[in-house]
Symmetry: C2
Subunit: 145 residues, 2 copies
DNA sequence: TATATTTAAGACAAACTTGTCCCAAAATAA
DNA sequence: TTATTTTGGGACAAGTTTGTCTTAAATATA
């Protein structure tokens, strides 16, 4: 079951890498992240570019440059990242792909999918990068295979 | 959010079309389904072929031929269809794509994704084609855009 | 038998996602 | 200024999913 595209997965892993670093005062280079997370450097660059363009990240060129969060990690939620990388309508999908599926014209599985979607959306909307960063540090969780 | 491939979506819609037909005694032609559901005929043919090869459907060639369920609709569950068309490991996915993610080596979002996956799997495992067929008939639900 | 109908099966093409490569632009440091 | 480092951005290639086309095989009917 592939819920998120590679772009979202890589983007999230990179942001989690940033927030789980000890030193929060420096830019993190994309090269470092791509190597630590085993992600294609150029692909990751483009993903992070999108996040920078949309104001979620700040980038800085040149030696010791890199990427940094533009907001405190407490104020960035998974849903912010996913909506940028997957599209604003990410949580509006119909499981059977019927256009206009909703309360008025539901598909046969709308009732239960609606509930699942809402639960997922809520989880994404309330889970911050800070929360996961703490979790990663405390439990020494990995971010790559 | 694309949880199911087109193959699964089309396969499910076709099966729901079959079970929501009044006359259950005849084969339903793929051509009819492809037209009623606005699905490419050849693509649908291949999808249903997979289901036939895996014993979920029965096919019959020649005039008045077509496709029929090989089991009563009460005994076919969404999970049966999806596991054939998406793969047996469909419900084992890690949201962040980390290999071996599980209780021993969880990814940072494993705890909540585990719950969501289980709820989805349960819903797929307990929803039968018969149940949805009844729902479709009673509420005149559509199966195509 | 001959013809029409329908699924089976494979080759192929189009579209989308993912990944690679190259060079430009910005910043640092010597 | 010059060289080096790093992101920006576009072209392009590879891979996967989705869709199309052609022919074969099975069945029914006349």
């Amino acid at each position: 079951m592939k819920v998120l595209s590679k772009a979202s997965v890589y983007g999230l892993r990179a942001l989690l890498y940033i927030v789980s670093k000890k030193d929060k005062s420096e830019y993190v280079s994309i090269r470092e992240m791509s190597e630590e997370l085993s992600i294609s450097f150029h692909f990751l660059t483009k993903i992070l570019q999108s996040l920078t363009q949309r104001g979620l990240l700040e980038s800085y060129r040149g030696p010791n440059g890199g990427i940094a969060l533009k907001l405190p990690a407490e104020e960035i939620f998974l849903i912010d990242v996913v909506k940028i990388l997957e599209g604003e309508n990410f949580f509006d999908s119909c499981l059977l792909g019927l256009p206009g599926c909703g309360e008025f014209e539901p598909c046969p599985v709308h009732d239960f999918w609606k509930v699942t979607k809402a639960a997922l959306q809520d989880e994404f909307a309330t889970t911050s990068l800070a929360e996961l960063g703490t979790k990663i540090s405390e439990n020494r969780l990995r971010l790559s295979g």
